[in-house]
Symmetry: C2
Subunit: 342 residues, 2 copies
DNA sequence: TATACTTTTGCAAACGCTTGCAAAAAAATG
DNA sequence: CATTTTTTTGCAAGCGTTTGCAAAAGTATA
């Protein structure tokens, strides 16, 4: 803690011990709900705590080998809404379980990720949640080696030992494609996400598999590279619109990217969905707020956060309990940004 | 830290001391950049640290009276975009200064705020940033008493001792009104924010003062109560549209609320801005993404975060330095959601 | 009632660091 | 070169906990 705090002295377990007339280790046992405490003394301690307003000192606690009741969250950035939704779920669950949250942003810089991870591992978090890491391998190895508890959100690594919470990305993309193809679309443009993420590759896979299954050709010119951010949607759409035969629909790898697509389409004076259908992925809150509202694949983002947090806490409470990774299913949400191809 | 970490032992200052052939207090001095260290030894220690990959243990550090290099952020929730922008600024500055961020969400529950504050004060944060608290007085007193360093963001308390960073809310609302009135609007609807916040009351004040200055009447039926959230925009707009003589423009207390207004207006089949102009406040990223793009007052949200963080860190580094609260100016951004009244 | 368990309690060490103070070394002074 | 002054160094105590271990108290058994 900082140096201020002139005045009021902190209440420690020693004060409580004195007040309750027991030894300080008894107080510690009560605080941590350990066994071997006479109910009567437990009561006395509890009362003393209430009377003096005791609040445990987390650093001392974790220094001494206990838990800090803090979990770390490693995240790329906070501004896309996508992250916000997941964090909302994490926060909900964390609050319910009396944990605090330490937030680390990487800004997509590899070195920062590494630095963060070492300091987290040495630091005050009991465990770590990681959202959509781009190249996690480097630091995930550190975590594994040290046997440090972590859960990956929205990333399907290859190591099945890791706990992960993902949504059915490929299946979701497939659903969207199914809908579009059955609505008569034949030339479907696709803008990829970051292909270093599994979310990125799986959505692309869903796109391709659907085309294959319906006997449609995979036209590489219809697939534009992107990175899940709005500008990549704008640029990708530009390129697709410049094709000799532009597609009748653009399927973006996420909603934010789809907003970029909308912008580009409107900049050309085209109408949505009459001239161009647009489909996104994620169903972030803004998807309903844009005009026209965006057809998209709903990912249960908040649930992902909740589930991941619950997994992590379970692991913390019993490191040997066997837990399985979770795949949450997605849902097609049809709004006004897409229509039939006539 | 959690109990795992079988295997690799942590590197402590003692290891470094051994490696560098000095005492461990020397290592501590080097790490903390204290004076009275021979350059040559400093070098030796630095090299040993690099070689062994030393990372300080924050809990031990702060337990021993040093700083934790963590700052706390107390925030209502994360989902409105508004908060996200501010946090982005905070994060930028924090990263630059090598601080970590502990995030506390209150969900607007008073008791939680109080609990958090006591645990923060006893806890691991060196200082605290507080965004837009509804009724901060209760816990702010605790902070003041303990002389705990904090900065209020977007809240203008009455106690001038407190460090605050706000934007010129009243002036901003006035700017918007000026623009609207000069564009020919005479009946201007207003939906308030949470009036327990200074942002809420000041924007309302700007609305009223502008009307007064231009000699226009203040019609209470044109002012609807709200709370900065989207539904309140929707409902407020409904009521304004139900008036015998509806306004020609609705001025919402923030962008999110304005999105609700847009929804309501569109639901009635009215066109924006031909039938109804809409103006928001904040200029969050989505303001450009909605259709039509929203005319709004730009608050330098990211800057607010940055500036507040900088203030806090300065205070931490020198508790006696005299710092002044900051008022950042706002800017009218005219987009397509508003037009002339003909 | 003596003996052997079992539960409850308290002591002390440890966690990794900061820092005041005194000792040692180096530099400056006469 | 001896002495004083200044800089550099190391020791030890302390921060507030947790926890293994041994002592104390309580309970059951013979």
């Amino acid at each position: 803690m900082g140096q201020p705090n002139d005045g009021l002295k902190d209440i420690t377990i020693i004060d409580i011990a004195q007040e309750a007339g027991v030894s300080y280790s008894m107080v510690s046992r009560v605080v941590n709900n350990k066994e071997h405490v006479k109910p009567e003394k437990r009561e006395r301690v509890l009362q003393a705590m209430a009377r003096l307003g005791y609040v445990a000192n987390q650093q001392a606690r974790s220094l001494a080998g206990g838990r800090s009741n803090v979990i770390g969250l490693l995240v790329r950035d906070l501004t896309t809404g996508y992250t916000g939704e997941i964090i909302r779920g994490i926060d909900l669950e964390l609050t319910a379980q009396q944990y605090d949250l330490m937030l680390y942003t990487t800004h997509n810089r590899k070195t920062r990720e590494m630095v963060h991870v070492t300091s987290i591992v040495r630091g005050l978090a009991d465990g770590l949640l990681i959202i959509l890491p781009t190249q996690p391998e480097s630091y995930i190895n550190t975590l594994r080696q040290r046997n440090y508890p972590f859960v990956l959100i929205d990333y399907q690594g290859q190591d099945t030992e890791d706990l992960t919470v993902v949504s059915a990305n490929q299946q979701g993309a497939y659903q969207a494609m199914q809908y579009l193809i059955e609505a008569g679309h034949r030339r479907i443009g696709f803008i990829t996400g970051t292909l270093e993420t599994s979310a990125g590759t799986e959505r692309l896979a869903g796109y391709k598999v659907a085309l294959a299954n319906y006997g449609l050709p995979i036209d590489p010119t219809l697939i534009q590279g992107g990175d899940f951010l709005q500008p990549s949607g704008y640029q990708g759409a530009q390129k697709l619109l410049d094709l000799e035969v532009p597609p009748s629909v653009i399927f973006a790898s996420n909603d934010v990217q789809a907003f970029g697509v909308m912008e580009a389409v409107r900049d050309r004076g085209l109408r949505i969905p009459q001239d161009m259908s647009i489909v996104g992925f994620d169903d972030i809150p803004q998807a309903t707020q844009v005009h026209p509202p965006l057809t998209t694949i709903q990912q249960p983002l908040e649930d992902m956060g909740r589930v991941a947090t619950r997994l992590l806490i379970q692991r913390l409470q019993d490191p040997h309990v066997s837990l399985a990774s979770v795949v949450l299913s997605t849902k097609l949400v049809i709004r006004q940004s897409s229509g039939l191809f006539i």
